[in-house]
């Protein structure tokens, strides 16, 4: 009996964990105020994969997300700053995208928030009807640098593969790649491949499971994976990724394993068609060893505090292996297949109305 308990997946606890994240966050999350929308994404997408979206108040969440959209002002002077904010921290008056944008000198979108905002809306079943798609694309265009990578905000910030991924997701969801010079992005990705054939955050940087996922998933969403990498290069990538498994997965050679890499590296292997060659039992056992049996959720390591990010990626990591009771996940876009199917239908609708 003890053995079975130690490896069972405590679905109900995780549902409650995410519910709590959606309503109240403990004080130690204060630094994440500006990224609040990402926490909402982990929770909502997590509940979706758990098949438990019925516990959320979809309507008020959709309104809240729309209140984070930075719309063009009446004079259209802020088009390069459009997108979504992480939260209301900047102090703009509440408006759930029901009128032109309120002018504010320091209010601008953040590429990760635009990505997670759009994803959350899709997950909640919204048809993106109040999203100003053209404005989001303008905002995105303003973030791309000469070297092909992206800033997070138009005022400038660090630039690396994480934001390349966010940009690709936005283009993919909006079915509009005009916000990204794809060739430049492809060049950036190629320059970020390292001597051991993994991919780093940027040129000259160490291969890393997270940036490797970001690069490969972005290329898949562009439909160009096999154009950009030769079969031999893909073979080397597969090898680098396969060698990250120790029981769970590590993010880099000689680093400890961490639950979230079961998704980052697992999904990459899935996109490279070799995930079925990994050892599912060891991977699953590791993820479940980081499960918090009391409060629910998953942590990066056993006997550590769970957090929304690791809980979400732990669940997605299990979903990749076909864990019973979990929805399948779109390996590149990182939302449930159910949500990506409704995205596809939305695209068909948009295309029909264009012709």
């Amino acid at each position: 009996m003890a053995d079975f308990e130690s490896v069972d997946f405590l679905r109900e606890r995780h549902v409650r964990f995410f519910q709590r994240c959606l309503y109240v966050l403990p004080e130690r999350y204060a630094p994440y105020e500006t990224s609040r929308l990402t926490i909402a994404f982990f929770s909502l997408s997590g509940l979706d994969v758990l098949g438990a979206l019925d516990v959320v108040d979809r309507h008020s969440l959709i309104e809240w997300i729309y209140s984070l959209q930075i719309l063009p002002t009446a004079d259209q002077s802020n088009l390069q700053r459009c997108g979504f904010r992480g939260s209301s921290h900047i102090g703009v008056p509440y408006s759930s995208s029901k009128g032109p944008g309120a002018p504010h000198p320091y209010d601008s979108g953040h590429v990760t928030m635009t990505y997670t905002g759009l994803a959350c809306l899709l997950i909640l079943g919204d048809d993106l009807g109040r999203v100003d798609r053209a404005a989001c694309v303008s905002g995105l265009r303003a973030l791309q640098l000469e070297d092909g990578s992206f800033y997070a905000v138009p005022e400038g910030s660090e630039n690396d593969m994480r934001f390349v991924y966010c940009a690709a997701c936005i283009c993919f969801m909006l079915d509009d790649w005009s916000g990204m010079d794809r060739q430049k992005t492809i060049d950036y990705i190629r320059r970020s491949t390292s001597f051991d054939f993994g991919i780093g955050q940027g040129a000259g940087l160490e291969s890393h499971g997270g940036s490797t996922f970001c690069a490969v998933a972005s290329l898949c969403m562009m439909g160009k994976l096999r154009e950009v990498f030769s079969e031999r290069e893909l073979g080397r990538l597969r090898r680098w990724c396969v060698l990250r498994q120790q029981n769970g997965f590590q993010g880099r050679p000689n680093k400890p394993v961490d639950t979230c890499y079961s998704f980052w590296v697992g999904a990459t292997l899935q996109l490279l068609d070799v995930f079925q060659y990994t050892n599912f039992e060891k991977n699953r056992n590791y993820i479940l060893s980081t499960q918090d049996r009391l409060v629910g959720g998953f942590a990066k390591w056993p006997d550590s505090h769970p957090d929304p990010l690791h809980t979400y990626f732990g669940i997605c990591g299990l979903s990749l292996m076909g864990e019973a009771g979990l929805q399948p996940v779109h390996a590149a876009l990182n939302i449930s297949l159910r949500a990506s199917d409704s995205l596809r239908r939305l695209h068909e609708c948009w295309r029909r109305s264009r012709t």
Binding site: E27, S194, F195, S230, N254, Y277
Partner: protein, 580 residues
């Protein structure tokens, strides 16, 4: 989000903590509101610096605040003398260092520090290098720090040699310093880059060059020194992967030249099949077909609609242009983008013709490694074998030996390679299915080499535990293929590249999908006994193979279909010999 270990507390401790948190929260909200108010009011002053400092100390990823702080600093610059500006930014550096102590992996902090150094009238790069050294001694894998270090090195003109010595020290004290090996891989090519030549004989590297391409390789002399460094590392600790990855990179080599690898012409179909050394889009690479000196207007198509980007392309010649066997014809395919071409002569009395570089000539399966210096590779193989004697269970050693043997003599070392694969699957059982897949690939490669050596067009790989097919673009000329008794599940779209295939035997597999049996113009006989074909619709693609007359489907689940024979005669009317 960083791992925090659980700690038990008493009720009283909990209450004290709660009160403290409330206090902190109040202070935070107050400060934040003041900052934003000030910024809206355009106030760029000392107080703004104080307020943002308070907030950023606990919340270093608040990007807007860093941006505001930068605005304030820029404004203050305009009001101060040069030496005061120096002091202003130096104290800024102290502040950032304090933030880094709290969170050494904050993107915002490192980014801000780079910015500060661009504003300092007199940057102190020695101090910055010192900061990097200290940070790395605490966490040698902190890639933010490594990235910052590269910037410092670039701005301050620290020589590549000095940085190499730095990596020497780090690697010397701890062979398992992956970041140092990585850094070394980026420094080495800068030291003594190999001269770059591409097929157009330009000397500038292409903008999309990756670290594996020519412009990032190391010259041979330095290479030998590096081999020694790697040997020292993996002989000392054979289980640490850093040195093995580095070693593999050292042994590696650029991608082979792009070319047309095969042209095949058939009189009967008046069809030309072209195989390229890499997948292309025929429409966009400047392909030109010249027949007997006359350029021809042809439509290039791929072998299967799902293969938009493919190594094999087909076209049809104008009717009657080559059908008369009493005529000799000369065909040339020009790949104008790559300044290369291939000729093919179709002689009198011959129904078909081809021109091809063998896989051996193309160094197809050997070009992973530098073949010009096979003496060096031989020496490396010896070293690795010595290590294997001491450490027979070491997976890195086994993998490297397999790689070296394939580079030197894939057919000669076949037996040993298979034995090593078996050992690998035992010592690294977690990855045994991956190794099986790799082994399947190597067996396919060896079979292609044997086929060419024997100068036959028959490809036989039965009973080899094959799970996937690959290198199908190398099988353009094959007439007979035997894949029986394996573990294949599909005949993928790439299978349609086997344009000369006449007989397919694939009994005793787990095949469900026949997508790749699509418009194979010469296919006459297909045997698929004991597979997993379930629905009649799975067989519809066979109707595109107009010469197909013999089909064996015994032992497939499709038997459960009612009226199977009549359904099949409807969709495959040309099949006369059907075995069910």
């Amino acid at each position: 989000m960083h791992g925090r270990v659980k700690v038990k507390t008493t009720a009283q401790q909990e209450e004290e903590k709660r009160k403290e948190r409330e206090k902190k929260l109040k202070a935070f909200v107050c400060a934040r509101d003041s900052v934003l108010k000030k910024r809206s009011a355009g106030e760029h002053d000392e107080e703004a610096l104080d307020l943002t400092q308070q907030l950023l100390s606990s919340n270093p990823d608040f990007a807007t605040l860093w941006n505001y702080r930068r605005e304030v600093l820029l404004h203050l610059e305009t009001l101060r003398e040069k030496d005061e500006v120096q002091k202003l930014y130096e104290s800024e550096l102290h502040f950032i260092e304090a933030c880094l102590k709290v969170n050494p992996k904050s993107y915002g902090c490192w980014h801000h520090r780079s910015w500060v150094n661009t504003r300092l009238p007199q940057p102190d790069w020695t101090r910055e290098l010192g900061l990097c050294d200290r940070c790395l001694s605490l966490d040698e894998r902190n890639f933010h720090c490594w990235d910052y270090r590269r910037l410092v090195v670039k701005e301050s003109g620290v020589s590549v040699e000095q940085e190499l010595q730095f990596t020497d020290r780090l690697i010397g004290s701890n062979f398992s310093n992956y970041s140092s090996w990585h850094y070394r891989s980026t420094l080495l090519p800068q030291l003594r880059p190999q001269p770059v030549l591409d097929s157009a004989h330009n000397t500038s590297p292409s903008p999309s060059a990756s670290p594996q391409s020519h412009s990032h390789r190391v010259c041979e002399e330095q290479l030998l020194k590096e081999y020694e460094l790697a040997h020292n590392a993996f002989f000392t600790d054979p289980n640490d992967q850093s040195a093995w990855f580095y070693y593999r990179w050292l042994l590696g080599r650029a991608e082979r030249e792009e070319m047309i690898s095969c042209v095949y012409v058939s009189r009967e179909g008046e069809r030309v099949s072209v195989a390229f050394s890499k997948p292309v889009h025929a429409g966009s690479v400047g392909l030109m077909l010249v027949l007997d000196g006359q350029p021809q207007q042809v439509q290039w198509r791929n072998a299967h609609p799902r293969l938009r980007h493919s190594p094999v392309w087909l076209c049809d010649l104008p009717a009657g242009s080559i059908s008369d066997t009493s005529n000799e014809h000369n065909l040339t395919i020009h790949w104008t983008d790559k300044h290369t071409h291939r000729d093919c002569a179709l002689y009198t009395g011959c129904a078909e013709s081809w021109c091809r570089d063998s896989a051996t000539d193309q160094e197809l399966f050997r070009s992973e490694l530098s073949v010009e210096k096979s003496s060096v590779l031989q020496a490396e193989l010896q070293s690795c074998n010595q290590l294997l004697d001491l450490e027979p269970q070491n997976k890195w050693c086994l993998l490297t030996i397999i790689l070296l043997m394939r580079a030197l003599d894939p057919l000669g070392h076949e037996k040993e390679t298979l034995t090593h694969f078996q050992t690998l699957k035992e010592v690294d059982a977690m990855r045994s299915s991956y190794y099986s897949d790799l082994c399947s690939k190597f067996l396919i490669e060896n079979t292609i080499l044997k086929m060419e050596y024997a100068e036959v067009r028959v490809f036989s790989l039965s009973n080899k535990k094959l799970t996937t097919l690959c290198h199908l673009d190398q099988l353009l000329l094959v007439t007979h293929i035997n894949l029986s008794s394996n573990q294949l599940q599909h005949l993928p779209p790439q299978f349609s590249m086997l344009q000369c295939l006449e007989v397919l035997e694939a009994d005793d597999n787990a095949i469900e999908s026949l997508e790749g049996l699509y418009h194979l113009p010469k296919l006459e006989e297909v045997s698929l006994k004991n597979n997993k074909i379930c629905k009649v619709s799975d067989l519809e693609t066979l109707a595109t193979c107009t010469k197909l007359t013999r089909l064996d489907l015994r032992g497939n689940p499709v038997h459960k279909t009612d009226d199977l024979e009549s359904e099949l005669s409807l969709i495959l009317p040309l099949v006369t010999a059907l075995s069910l």
